[in-house]
Assembly symmetry: C2
Homo-oligomer: 450 residues x 2
């Protein structure tokens, strides 16, 4: 007999954790809904032709592929010339790696019926064969909201507001909505005259926190940038002050780039349009360069409150050609994603889960023999009809044992229908938190709240 | 460019369908909760050692295995002597095939912390490589409730009540809760003196509807049963009348079998205990033999209303040794499962989905230029704060185009903030269903329900 286990990097979620996770999901979902987003669900498996090449070489490697159980394919695989060929014979499907590609695939497949702009949200697990470590799992949920088919910057504003609304509703304070625009970074490379080094430049810039200004300078020099280039980049990194001041400095520094000016204008609208009554105003962060391979406009990253060491708890941006890879050109998308596992850890650390998330059985009816059980069953069904979760102990047993069950399960009320209660037609209701016990009539019981 | 597609047997669920499915899930979930069941979620992938051999040979074949992407394993697989060996080298994980085995695995892994009886529910997709056909998919949801660690028949009563409650809440009438007990079928074989033919007998009995009494007689004879045996079986099949009458007839016919008497007693308690105020009383069906490989007590099957050709929409039973396969002996389980896809089809056919399941965006604010959009945005945020889903059209466009969007999306109200409304500080609210339009003050708007 092998001791049962689960695959490394995966998790069971017991009742307490499921309820806490559902609280997060429900907060996100109801916010998406109130903003007019619509739910979508796609299959766990996608054809490899849909997924391959969409996540870089690393992604292709980390995808979980489904093994064909067709005997012919096994035979053919044996004759394969390379491991790569062997894999491709053995498998034509893989598990969902993110929610964006399946969304793009869905939009293209259903373009005839969809009303654009299509605002969809999707909350489903994805699978990645990363090496498991603290906070990194092979199965985890993504919660995405995307708008496809609209170039309007109002979408960016609304998506930032969704972050702000959800995090506020979760009771978080001190989170940061950091925003940037890809066009500003492109403009910087353009001003220097080295657009081909955009990625090199942003990778170095991104390390500012870790390696400091001197470190960045060294790296940039090593990557072939001149002193003059580096001076411009340092001026770029030195941008500071209020959002208005930052925007003004950017405008001057990147005056030579039309692209940059467009990016500054977009950024200005997104954080500064006056449309949005943010609880926590977004912050311009010109070093923010996530998703540079696909984002073309706004880039956003959400940082957990500084009091918890967690880093990013969400991110997103605009990608001008979301569906082009599936043959539907010129359709722009913009979206955000919530990192639910990390948000969970943040709420846990800050003790922000409301007690109500653990509402489970409210009332346990003790089982004190058949007459008691029959009376209890009837009262219990009344509570359930009122939407109050109730249980009758499964068997007639010593009171001690039943009270212990209530205690272990965290059930706050116990109802006792002993001989005297049955004779008097009353119920004894004990509050296990306060220890108080009272006898009530059936009529009074029918009105009690728990 | 390959036209994108999804794997055969899988489905995308668009907004309308997700909302209808969520209505079913939510009805089931809230009923499970009110009966004191607790949520559990297990990983999509399980180790093959957990799954293999648990679902018969067919199950092992239909499981979706995960291909290892370890290059050493690919090389080793090439040298494998058989396809079976090759598969087992290439894969050590597979996708969840049902929810019962992962539940048993979870119970065994967490036995130290669990309070027994443990009443859990689980609503997650499972994957099976069946040949896809109408109503049969390779990815589908199961919704299970099980109690582990209690022999009390009160659990059976409660599980039947859950079926009754859920189906009633879904607005279904005319469904049938058919119940039987494995011990009664065993007792029949025992009375005949041919316990080894139990499976043969029940397979034939199960075909009564299809092949008629004469067909059953022929089959039984072919399986080696004597005329006397067949006469007993025919008497068994002829049992009829009210539940009390059926139970009395069974008692007499199977008087010689202690096992049968125990089964009759259990069945009597389950359907006849007087505990349960069923909306639709369970029916004794002595031919019911599903899950005979694992069920040891009650067997239940739920039939859709006869007006829809659907057959079973749920089923379950008691299995005396749920966790024995993972080394934890003597722990009994009893559970039920809802067939959500079929329930969906039944509700669709009978037009039982409430309109409210499609509640999405209630109010569209027209975008009539910047001044209008700014005012609209502010009113829109007020609605959202009140929990009312609202949208501002993403760009300033012709009114026609915006009205068409509202129409296609099924948004019932449109708010117009034209020049005159802005000047008068009023809002024009148009009900697109009735066609009525009225001008209201900001204060009145803040009180409106949609």
């Amino acid at each position: 007999m092998i001791k049962p286990s689960i695959p490394s990097g995966t998790r069971d979620f017991g009742p307490v954790v499921v309820r806490k996770r559902n609280y997060i999901f429900q907060t996100i979902r109801s916010t998406f809904e109130v903003y007019g987003f619509q739910p979508l669900e796609t299959p766990a498996m996608e054809n490899l032709s849909t997924l391959t090449g969409k996540y870089g070489e690393e992604g292709d490697k980390l995808m979980f592929r489904i093994l064909s159980n067709n005997d012919d394919k096994l035979a053919a695989a044996k004759a394969a010339a390379s491991n790569k060929e062997m894999s491709s014979i053995l498998s034509d499907k893989a598990l969902r790696y993110d929610l964006t590609i399946p969304f793009a695939r869905y939009v293209v497949m259903n373009q005839q019926e969809l009303t654009l702009p299509f605002k969809r949200y999707q909350m489903q697990p994805v699978w990645r064969g990363d090496r498991p470590q603290k906070g990194r799992y092979r199965e985890f949920y993504q919660c995405d909201a995307d708008v496809v088919g609209s170039n309007s910057l109002l979408n960016e504003v609304e998506l930032l507001l969704i972050y702000d609304t959800v995090l506020t509703r979760l009771g978080l304070q001190g989170y940061e909505l950091r925003v940037n625009n890809r066009k500003i970074l492109s403009g910087l490379a353009e001003v220097i005259g080295k657009q081909e080094l955009l990625t090199d430049i942003t990778i170095s810039i991104d390390k500012l926190d870790k390696i400091g200004a001197e470190g960045v300078r060294k790296e940039l020099a090593a990557r072939g940038l001149t002193d003059a280039d580096i001076t411009t980049i340092e001026q770029f990194l030195a941008i500071s002050g209020t959002s208005e001041e930052k925007l003004a400095q950017l405008k001057t520094l990147l005056a030579a780039s039309e692209t940059a000016q467009k990016g500054i204008e977009e950024l200005s609208f997104v954080i500064n349009s006056g449309y949005a009554p943010f609880n926590t105003a977004p912050i311009i962060d010109v070093t923010l360069a996530r998703g540079l391979n696909y984002y073309t406009g706004m880039i956003v990253e959400v940082k957990a409150p500084a009091t918890v060491k967690m880093g990013s708890i969400g991110g997103g941006g605009r990608y001008d050609d979301l569906t082009g890879m599936f043959g539907m050109k010129g359709t722009s998308g913009v979206g955000i994603s919530f990192g639910v596992d990390r948000i969970y850890d943040v709420l846990e650390e800050l003790k922000l889960f409301p007690e109500a998330t653990q509402q489970s059985t409210k009332v346990l009816f003790l089982n004190l023999g058949e007459a008691s059980a029959r009376a209890a069953f009837s009262y219990m069904m009344q509570l359930r009809a009122r939407g109050i979760a109730a249980e009758l102990f499964h068997e007639s047993a010593k009171m001690d044992k039943q009270m212990k069950y209530a205690d272990k399960r965290g059930i706050p009320y116990v109802v006792i229908l002993g001989e005297s209660e049955l004779q008097e037609n009353l119920l004894s209701v004990k509050n296990l938190v306060s220890g108080q016990q009272e006898k009530v009539s059936a009529a009074a019981f029918a009105e009690m709240t728990f």
